[in-house]
């Protein structure tokens, strides 16, 4: 398992490096360490979100409501800050994460307890969460001047030369590595998606595992909500509209199988970075930024086709000499 997964990730690493090299040919300054760090920082939120989405997709579900969850949690964080500028920022972050977790758990409960198909649940909550932002804010924007300086400064604060946002995403990556590889819950995500039937036999509750996956994706969306709003210093109904597709694209590019059970933290991170590099590179290599959407679309299709080929089940090997040949 390790060997093949490693291979898949190596392929992605090569793809990202090749992409960067290609860009460097047209525009050498792109590969300066400072700029690469910027690209990483700019992709941090996508990385965090993709890791949450990965957990959900691993269990054979999907979360289309992540961007709406982000926008709603972000709006609440911004409104809290605007109403009570004295509130400590860590508390606001906790509130955003808790709200995100609640929104995620609503998805999870509907999938677990009512057996509603995940795509329907999250399509529905996507529109509901967006609508709630409007009800909450009355359609008004929360602008930079309404936010406290501390609120806006946190992601930008530099530590050892890198912005806190970058550090935070690294911490999340590390945590997710531990969760996915070293905890029973993380392994249950793989088991439930890989073979739900067998998971029951090993004593894993399939519905509950899915519920926890949604709670995880919700919590990370809530955290991203604060990060997004404070980084761009604005909150309104439509922030991150359509971003759910970028998140799923990052996962698909990263080799997370939409059929569940296959994926890795490294893959999801690399998938997000691949998209991040494209997004940051288009303006500098003189391709219209309008092409970004078409390129992501193309990349998703190519990635899913490549993954499908790798996953293709070989038929049952019955002939003994054929089995020997297959090793």
């Amino acid at each position: 398992m390790k060997r093949l997964l490693k291979n898949r990730e190596m392929l992605l690493v090569v793809a990202v490096i090749a992409l960067v090299a290609l860009i460097a040919l047209r525009f050498p300054p792109f590969v300066t360490p400072g700029n690469l760090a910027n690209v990483y920082n700019d992709t941090s939120i996508l990385i965090i979100l993709a890791l949450g989405q990965m957990a959900v997709i691993l269990t054979r579900c999907i979360d289309l409501s992540m961007a709406a969850n982000l926008a709603l949690s972000g709006m609440v964080a911004a409104m809290l800050n605007a109403a009570m500028p004295g509130l400590p920022i860590p508390l606001i972050i906790l509130v955003a994460m808790a709200l995100g977790a609640v929104l995620g758990s609503i998805n999870g409960l509907l999938v677990w307890k009512l057996d509603i198909p995940p795509i329907v649940v999250t399509l529905g909550t996507l529109t509901i969460y967006r609508g709630l932002i409007f009800l909450l804010s009355g359609g008004a924007w929360i602008n930079a001047h309404q936010m406290s300086n501390a609120f806006k400064a946190l992601p930008r604060t530099t530590l050892l030369g890198f912005p806190l946002l970058s550090w935070l995403s690294l911490v999340i990556i590390a945590l997710m590595l531990v969760v996915m590889r070293r905890t029973p819950l993380g392994r249950a995500f793989f088991a439930v998606g890989g073979n739900p039937h067998a998971a029951v036999y090993t004593g894993i509750d399939v519905g509950r595992t899915r519920f926890f996956a949604y709670c995880l994706s919700g919590t990370l969306a809530g955290l991203s909500g604060y990060l997004w709003v404070s980084r761009y210093a604005v909150a309104y109904v439509d922030i991150a509209a359509g971003f759910e597709l970028d998140i799923i694209a990052a996962c698909v590019i990263g080799g997370v199988s939409i059929a569940g059970g296959i994926g890795s933290v490294g893959g999801a991170v690399l998938g997000a970075l691949f998209l991040g590099v494209i997004k940051n590179a288009l303006p500098v290599v003189n391709i219209s930024p309008f092409a970004q959407m078409a390129i992501s679309g193309m990349v998703i299709i190519i990635a899913v086709a490549v993954n499908a080929r790798a996953e293709k089940r070989k038929g049952r090997v019955i002939l003994r000499k054929a089995e020997a040949a297959h090793g």
């Binding site: 398992m1 029951v200 004593g203 049952r316 002939l319 089995e323």
Partner: protein, 530 residues
Amino acid sequence: MPGRAEGGGSPAIEHETQPVDRDLLQDTITSRMKPAIALEGISKSFPGVRALAEVSLALYPGSVTALVGENGAGKSTLVKILTGIYQPDEGTIRVDGVETHFPTANSAAKAGVTAIHQETVLFDELSVAENIFLGHAPRTGLGLIDWKKMNAKARALLARVGADLDPAIRLRDLGIANKHLVAIARALSIDARVVIMDEPTAALSHKEIHELYELVDRLKADGKAILFISHKFDEILRIADRYTVFRDGRMVGEGLISETTQDDLVRLMVGRDVGQVFPKQDVAIGEPVLTVSGYRHPTEFEDIHFELRRGEILGFYGLVGAGRSEFMQSLIGITKPSAGAIRLDGEIKVIRSPAEAIEAGIVYVPEERGRQGAIIGLPIFQNVTLPSLSRTSRSGFLRLAEEFALAREYTARLDLRAASLDQDVGTLSGGNQQKVVIAKWLATRPKVIILDEPTKGIDIGSKAAVHAFMSELAASGLSVIMVSSEIPEIMGMADRVIVMREGRIAGRFERADLTAEKLVRAAAGIEEAA
């Protein structure tokens, strides 16, 4: 209940009618030993079926109990109750004499019950070590999974079952036999006191089977209580100490292996004398209809050639996974053979899809009724007419009156029991679903019909109806291929038998010189004792 009144001479059946005997038996043989686990009066029903009726079973430490019964006798339901997947409607489970409930798979595992399942229920994408330890992986002091320890323990367990495998590789990269050994290692990883082996040798080679026997002996010596489910009588007689026979969800006999014979077991299992039940008619065999030559596939089968004649029932026997279904599916264009040709009525035919097979007059009634046969969610009549729509419709438009007429004709011929033809086929019992599936194929008016395990998992009554009908079909000039893993069925119904093993033809037999022993030997690859 057919057969209950018969066979009164058999000592084992007396246990059923005279429970006193059973107590006596237990007193004399196991008086000093208490069962590790005991089921008492267990019943379980599903919509339309009573899977188990007041079944009792006791498993003793250091003893192997063979559970014998035809497909659909309730063995797998019992295994699921023992492992906490199903909850019984009635009855009690006692572990060491204490009444216990297994509401989840975990609770059964905690009580020390573990199962190696018929179909290896494992995870292709996870590593070998994780497949062994999922759910009870060794942890570090922080509560995190300890991979190093897990791999080391896995390596030790694999060595114990005689598998030289790297615990870190992915399960999907293993062959079926090695997967099975991983499943056995998993069962051992739980410090189990009760080990259930559900057809553990079905996919193993001769050598691997003997290694498994040794393993069972070791487990026995360790004091484990073992429930051994198998269809192979030589195997049962070789390793089991006790036996329990199920038929139609009831326990119909139990006792010591040393006091029984294969014939007794078969009689108990089938509940009738084999010859009586199969309504095989004598049919004049006609000219060749289907000729298959040189069929091969890169991984599934090779060198398949045979002739099928008019009015003939050709049996295909073999162990599960011998490549019979795979070959049949390539005949109708589901998978592509790498070489080979078929002639139908002397004409060479190329069949690339089931649609073309139906057109040519070859139809396949698949083994997996739920997945490949019945379309649950559609009403009975739509199931029946689906492959024949071109006949019942006019220029692409449905004609319901014609559909109902066709469905009525064929469901009546098969003696279907249903409330209406508009009923969802999913509400029928397994036997009646199978009748709908067969009706569907007959309605296409084929020349050749391939029946893959036509009576698997259906009740005795429906079985008899299917057999009678198969016989009628042959008599009416159809050519029938019957794939079956049940020896009585093969011996009772087939004019000729082809035995397959590991994707190749391992033997051909005429009805006249057919014996159960020959079939088993050919299927298992055991040389004739010379």
